[in-house]
């Protein structure tokens, strides 16, 4: 798997996230990283390896296994003038701090009548593919994308992994960053043309005229492979990387779908109540009279992610299913 096209230096996604952390920690003394095993262990996915030596235990702060406690503490610290970066090991564990994210971080600004903002960044690993089975593999980012009062972003490229964090920290409101576990080992080139402060806009990763494939995070690369395959069959697919899951960049989505008149959404979440469902609804709301086919969806099977490789693969959106869905809406 390869990140973005040529241009800048080759770097892994993991290193890109670490560089982003290092940069903000160096530049802003208010920032600190807090989470389970971020320090001495080096991070569950080795993202923060080495940072403890560089920044010390106050700013690379190991926490007990207390998601509600340390995420809530992150909210409090943000209210108190810090710029905390809280790492939750996986999105499954974030259920233990959902209360703090939903009931506190997302609400305080509103329920205080605009008096308090929460400039907090929460990073979480998400997604399946590492045979981590039914309690470590899910894609629940759409649950967070449901919540007004927070931003949700999903860097899919090394460039976004490298630059989204800085912008997220500049944001006065809580930002959740979802990093797909299958991306950490991916190598890519930093895109010199990327706008390093943009976290609002979706990106067109491949232009095409026949169908719009909308995706984000780990599914981007499967979708780009599918687009290549489709091109071999005479179907030119446009691939949109959402980048921001909340707010959704309706303008980019609708501009593309109005042109191609067909859309397929690829989302590793479960189909029912999925982000794909939301995007589909928005397309129908905003592009109905431009559509040539029903909106297609490729989502995960409605099952807790299984352990054995073949079943895990079967549960997730895969390239052949994306190709088939695209062909079916194109009608050939």
């Amino acid at each position: 798997m390869s990140g973005t096209s040529a241009g800048g230096a080759e770097i892994t996604y993991r290193d890109a996230v670490r560089e982003a952390l290092r940069e903000v920690l160096q530049q802003d003394p208010r920032t600190f990283l807090m989470g389970e095993d971020v320090g001495r262990y080096g991070g569950c996915y080795a993202v923060s390896k080495g940072l403890l030596d560089e920044f010390g235990p106050e700013r690379i702060r190991d926490t007990p296994l207390s998601e509600a406690g340390f995420v809530g503490a992150g909210i409090g610290a943000a209210l108190g003038g810090m710029r905390p970066i809280v790492e939750v090991m996986t999105v499954n564990f974030s259920m233990l701090c959902l209360d703090q994210i939903l009931n506190t971080a997302a609400t305080i600004r509103h329920m205080s009548g605009g008096q308090f903002s929460v400039p907090l960044v929460i990073r979480m690993a998400t997604g399946a593919g590492r045979q981590l089975a039914a309690q470590h593999s899910h894609s629940l980012e759409n649950w967070y994308a449901h919540i007004p009062g927070i931003r949700v972003v999903a860097p899919a490229t090394v460039t976004d992994a490298r630059f989204m964090l800085r912008t997220a920290l500049l944001d006065p409101d809580p930002v959740l960053i979802f990093e797909h576990v299958m991306l950490y080992n991916m190598t890519g080139s930093l895109d010199p043309a990327a706008d390093p402060v943009d976290i609002d806009r979706a990106a067109v990763r491949r232009p095409g005229r026949d169908v719009t494939l909308i995706t984000y995070g780990g599914s981007l690369w499967k979708t780009l492979v599918a687009a290549t395959e489709l091109a071999g069959q005479g179907i030119e697919a446009e691939v949109i990387d959402l980048r921001s899951l909340r707010p959704l960049d309706d303008a980019t989505i609708t501009a593309s779908v109005r042109r191609t008149r067909r859309a397929v959404i690829v989302d590793e979440g479960w189909r029912s109540g999925s982000l794909a469902a939301e995007i589909s609804a928005r397309i129908v709301e905003q592009c109905f009279w431009s559509l040539d086919a029903p909106v297609g969806r490729v989502c995960s099977a409605e099952v807790p992610i299984p352990y054995p490789k073949h079943l895990e693969d079967a549960a997730l959106p895969q390239t052949p299913a994306i190709v088939a869905a695209a062909r079916s809406v194109v009608g050939r």
């Binding site: 610290a77 905390p84 209360d99």
Partner: protein
Amino acid sequence: MSETSDPKVHLTRSHVRALYQEMLRIRRFEEKCAELYTQEKIRGFLHLYIGEEAIAVGVMQALQPLDAVVATYREHGHALARGIEMGRVMAEMLGRQDGCSRGHGGSMHIFDAATRFYGGNAIVGGGLPLAVGLALADRMQGRPQVTVCFFGEGAVAEGEFHESMNLAALWQLPVLFVCENNLYAMGTALAISESETDIHRKAESYRMPAAAVDGMDVVAVETAARRAVEAIRGGAGPVFLECRTYRFRAHSMFDAQLYRSKDEIEAWKAKCPIEHLRAWALQAGSLHAEDLTAVEADVLAELDAAVAFAEASPWEPVERLLADVMTPEAPS
């Protein structure tokens, strides 16, 4: 905590009068709220603090202007004692634009940036991690400030309580935890919900200095709070106060109080903190009858003005419905 050190409470005439007046302000304010509730001017849940006034008033005496307060959904007393204008609190009760949270929060969500009053948190236990984080921010920024966190004894059954106790003690953060033990979590008696009913002993198990205080005695509360805050400010880490008290009124307005006896209620009413202070002050000569009359008149005048202010306050225009969900000026 040691009982031998000299309490720094100076019971001057003016201070006793102030304590009395603060408690009476809360009492009369809430009685008015109950009336306005029956008239449907206040809606939602209304949780009255009547009977527990000594705790908020006593603890607030120990705070400096830059200290932070985190409270619960039974927080009118804390808001008034902390110094938020009664008119703005009443306007919030009525959901008006001049409410301290622009009317967005109502009875359960009083916030005030000027006094660092961080709610108004209506998820039981949800405010504790917030207090830990506020204290962490102060510590990391080298500010000599204390965060006081109020919560009921019901909160100690929540995981967030234990996570927060551990984090605060582990990181030696400047938090004063004030447990307002009024014996009932809504309608569930302490004895049927906790294996350890001496709440302060839970804190001790986290190696945190902890003590039980007579929450019906404002002077006792102030004494304990002053000592605790002084210790915390001196770098001693968190301190825990269990204030034993009783709410004289139902949990909320719509509560038939099937779970406790009238005899029990009457027995606690006999320990009314306001009556208690009045009797003591008259006997000790700190206050005279005419002082009491003057205080009562002052309070009623303030209350009348507050109600008038609140009722005259406009409604938040519907155009501002979404205005405080996110910070308007996100960086670009």
